[in-house]
Point group: C2
């Protein structure tokens, strides 16, 4: 049976020592959380995830969701109570505006809760997760009346939310979508069409479900410029005349999937369902992107989350499973065999996962802090714009890179268990199956890569990437003369050089030949991700050295971080050279092959 | 619904054009298969796999195996008929000695059938696969009476076979095993103990099951030197007095696994079961290794097989799924969108899989041909010894490398389907789940890596790896001045250089410090695997160029090979540099971390 301990101390170290939490005190929401309060909130989050959500992870996978004869969905045993506990703890409205039922705390704390809850029970965490993103879109684009109407119900967990984008013939290519909206008297619309892959589309956790649906108003332009966003409630309370009438939206079937069995993935049928416009007509796609971007960061965190819980269980197994002897002779001659952890390759495997986890968490928190600045700081337009640039650049990068590597790490952790890792009851293969979806949904990772290279890099004349280069370069300049920092700074400089070369190569070769951008986009996403982790490791190392110099109590943890960071620099970051080679190979060879040869 | 076409033309090209089949005419078994016969046999294999096995792949996964109240196992619908067809086609005894019911054909053909059948239905293919390997051990170590007794029954498919090694507390570390053998009057033994993860341990496909069981005779030494191998039949026909009595061996339960649901993975209980010694007492482990090595090559082929079938389905999807437009503008403006195949990153994904598949198949056939030489050539001791060296070196390499990459490729192919790849009915996620086990069983891949580096490299003063270097070096020298070969030879030379540097590094740093070998073993396995594929691509390119020069009919296939080979050289082989860097980082950093820090 797998276990999970939320890495609270690790988060506290990153927020306090690496990112200097106190520097954000004047950002709205932060002042309520001093260092002690911060820790108290995180420990509360950890308790809910460890004690309530995690015990339902395997049972939820085994039971899955059942569609009943009337189209209702029964979630696994215990999910209803867990959802109630989650909502009552205030976690749904954690970062939402206090005027609409939220707690107004930093988004950064919500990102931490994302990690903990997705580690504990990824399938479950998607129910509140989708409610949070739908709420975010409603509070961003809704009228004052809409915000006041939906906010308190959703933050209280009475009503949940969904996103309805995909149709059978279109996922990535939303311009093709066919769901129609016909105007009704009184300003509402009749929504008709079919949506697929709708996570949490139907369930028994809440009184009502608020579907946000992308559809085309009759007569609107073809393509993405004719899409509008609608609120389609399961029960219609918006119009007093309808008095909670069941809307014509229903779950036609649920998908039989590889993983996340505890979450209901629905085919949703809209048969003239009553819908209410959210935001402006034909501006549905940009409105949906508010949700999409937040959801993408949430999915990035799922990659880290599965990697973390898989690591914890693999490390525990490696410390206790007795098998074979150390290569240098028996370490524990009194026992029938040595623990796996004496094997260098077992350590290599574990360190690869761990060196990702700690730096990926730093990347998440760094970006989450910028997200808070981008959304809440109105007293410093420059800081806000820089934060927005950063978010635009990091969102596709983190979605693609963290979920790819998170999945790989779940596979590596499973591998340490040998045959026992393939058996369902040991839980390691569930991490692999669950982690797999994160590479696919909210935009498959290849779409993230082309968004990164084709849109986010060149945007505003490359302002965001130039700022990133500047920030990393300044860090290197500040620290390169410090002897103890050299093992971290020198490899980072080399990795950064590769990223800069790759970026220049695109400037010179992809503007005129977009296939060169496409051909190198995936490699660039991984090259950039590695440099991002390297930058985080260098900062973690600096904070750890400072903490050690201060004689901090958690000396072992600091030593472990310094060693893990060295491992990353020596054995993982050098991959940047290989990714650069791939990028500079260009697209000609790829495009030359006739389609029928494939 | 996934489809599968066995790559017969690809195999024929490799056997005839690349490896020059006719050169083997004087190896026993080959003379019966001239070029036409060879093709006829392969087409027959393809038909069985495409028409009989593949249609049962998804249904077998869905139904799984059921354990009935009496401990019997019901395999999925259709498996019984398929097993009969497989046996009646002569495929079980294909390469077995004709004196004992076999057909005496080359093992190379059996390796091809391994690929086709594992692509079509991996879970099914394990039933005949285990029978074939058990038969091989029986014919290798059995007395004349044992060979005559078991051979015809097993080749006819009436009796099947298993391997019983793993116990709950020991998988890799067989020296720990506890299953006991107590001598009985008359020369037989009473076998007692429990084995786990026994593939095809119980089923309804054959009249009888011949378990080969590793156990310790009472009073035998501890560790691996006290292990003996026993034949434990489900029904005892060996002793006329017992007249087919049900033996005290039974399936206690079956495992609920991530994949290969169509195969029964059993906990086997031996409660004083009658067993007969196979080979010499206390020499069970070396005897078992005859099976293990053959089984490891079979598992290596499973990695390729899942990669191949996943590729075929992904390529078909990419050619037909309409979504988005080409980066350079609409390619098919009359259609609502362009097919996925116009996207450079989709091509990158597909070519990475394909560039592996074609060269991995070459590696399999090259090694299979050497296997035939090693086993059958008694007129040339030098050729035989070289072939044996080659096999020893390539077995762990191919098991580890081909299954790691085969799994990665199944994941990549699934990714092209977006959300549809996560849905069970589309079949892509089954390839991932099934491919996953190949990295684990028959020795987890980390065990293969340390076997390669720690045992096979230094064996006989490095004779095998020196021969490999010599062979690749000679090929480079022969071809480096040919203009058309330069894009293949130059990168191969560079990759070979990295492999040689890594090998030298181990010689200088691992003899005295074994942890340096352990720390670099996994990277070395991948570095070596890449160079192996590179060597195959260079040979494929040479044969394709020659074929094109001759004006061969299959011009498109030759062009596609030359392009795919270029892709491999430009974008995949350069990974060798990164793997070399990892190796040369050594083991100190890994070993320094105290176990409790993990």
């Amino acid at each position: 049976m797998p276990t999970y301990r939320a890495p609270v101390d690790e988060v506290l170290f990153l927020l306090r020592d690496v990112f200097q939490w106190e520097r954000y005190a004047n950002v709205p929401g932060f002042s309520d959380l001093n260092a002690e309060m911060l820790e108290a909130v995180l420990r509360q989050a950890a308790r809910l995830c460890e004690d309530v959500l995690q015990p339902l992870n395997q049972t939820g996978d085994r039971e899955g969701c059942r569609r009943l004869a009337d189209g209702a969905i029964a979630t696994p045993n215990g999910f209803r109570e867990a959802y109630r506990a989650y909502a009552e703890g205030g976690w749904i409205g954690l970062a939402a505006d206090q005027r609409y039922g939220g707690q107004g705390l930093p988004y950064t704390i919500a990102a931490v809760m994302n990690e903990f809850s997705a580690s504990a029970n990824m399938a479950f965490s998607m129910y509140p997760g989708l409610t949070i993103t739908a709420l975010s879109a409603l509070l961003h684009h809704g009228t004052e009346a809409q915000k006041a109407f939906y906010g308190p119900k959703m933050t209280a967990g009475r009503w949940s939310g969904t996103m309805n984008l995909t149709e059978p013939h279109c996922g990535t290519d939303l311009g093709l979508l066919r769901t129609k909206a016909a105007p009704l008297a009184g300003g509402a619309y009749a929504i008709s069409g079919q949506k697929i892959f709708i996570s949490a589309g139907e369930h028994d956790l809440a009184e009502n479900i608020v579907h946000l649906v992308l559809a085309r108003i009759e007569g609107a332009p073809a393509g993405t410029k004719g899409l509008s966003l609608f609120i389609v409630p399961k029960f219609v309370h918006e119009d007093p005349d309808l008095a909670g009438r069941r809307n014509a939206v229903s779950c036609g079937s649920i998908e039989n999937k590889m993983g996340i069995h505890g979450n209901s993935t629905c085919v949703m049928n809209f048969d003239g369902a009553i819908g209410f416009l959210l935001g402006e007509p034909n501006r549905g796609l940009p409105a949906m992107f508010v949700m999409m971007n937040e959801a993408r960061l949430g999915v990035a965190v799922q990659g880290l989350a599965q990697s973390e819980v898989a690591y914890q269980n693999a490390a525990a197994y490696a410390r206790t499973r007795l098998q074979m002897r150390a290569l240098t002779g028996a370490k524990f001659p009194d026992q029938p065999a040595d623990p796996l952890i004496v094997q260098p390759d077992v350590r290599r495997n574990l360190l690869e996962i761990r060196a990702f986890n700690e730096a990926a968490r730093a990347l998440v928190l760094w970006t989450a802090l910028r997200c808070d600045v981008a959304r809440r700081v109105d007293f410093d337009q420059k800081a806000r714009q820089e934060a927005e640039d950063h978010l635009g650049l990091m969102t596709p990068l983190m979605k693609g890179f963290l979920t790819d590597r998170g999945f790989d790490n779940a596979v590596k952790a499973q591998q340490l268990f040998g045959g026992h890792g393939y058996i369902r009851e040991n839980g390691m293969e569930q991490f692999v199956r669950d982690a797999r979806i994160a590479m696919i949904y909210e935009g498959a990772n290849a779409v993230q890569a082309i968004d990164l290279v084709g849109r986010k890099l060149p945007m505003h004349g490359g302002r965001a990437i130039i700022a990133f280069f500047g920030e990393v370069g300044a860090f290197i300049a500040q620290n390169e003369l410090t002897e103890a920092m050299r093992p971290y700074v020198a490899p980072l400089r080399e990795g950064l050089g590769h990223l800069q070369q790759a970026t220049m190569w695109f400037m010179n070769h992809a503007m005129t030949k977009p296939d060169n951008a496409g051909a190198g986009s995936y490699a660039y996403m991984h090259l950039f991700g590695l440099v991002g982790l390297g930058f985080m490791w260098a900062q973690i190392a600096r904070a750890s050295l400072a903490s050690r110099a201060r004689g901090a109590v958690a000396r072992e943890a600091m030593e472990a971080r310094l060693m893990t960071g060295r491992f990353f620099m020596e054995r993982m970051l050098p991959e940047t050279q290989f990714q650069l080679t791939r990028i500079m190979a260009g697209g000609d060879a790829l495009m030359a092959m006739p389609a029928e040869y494939f």
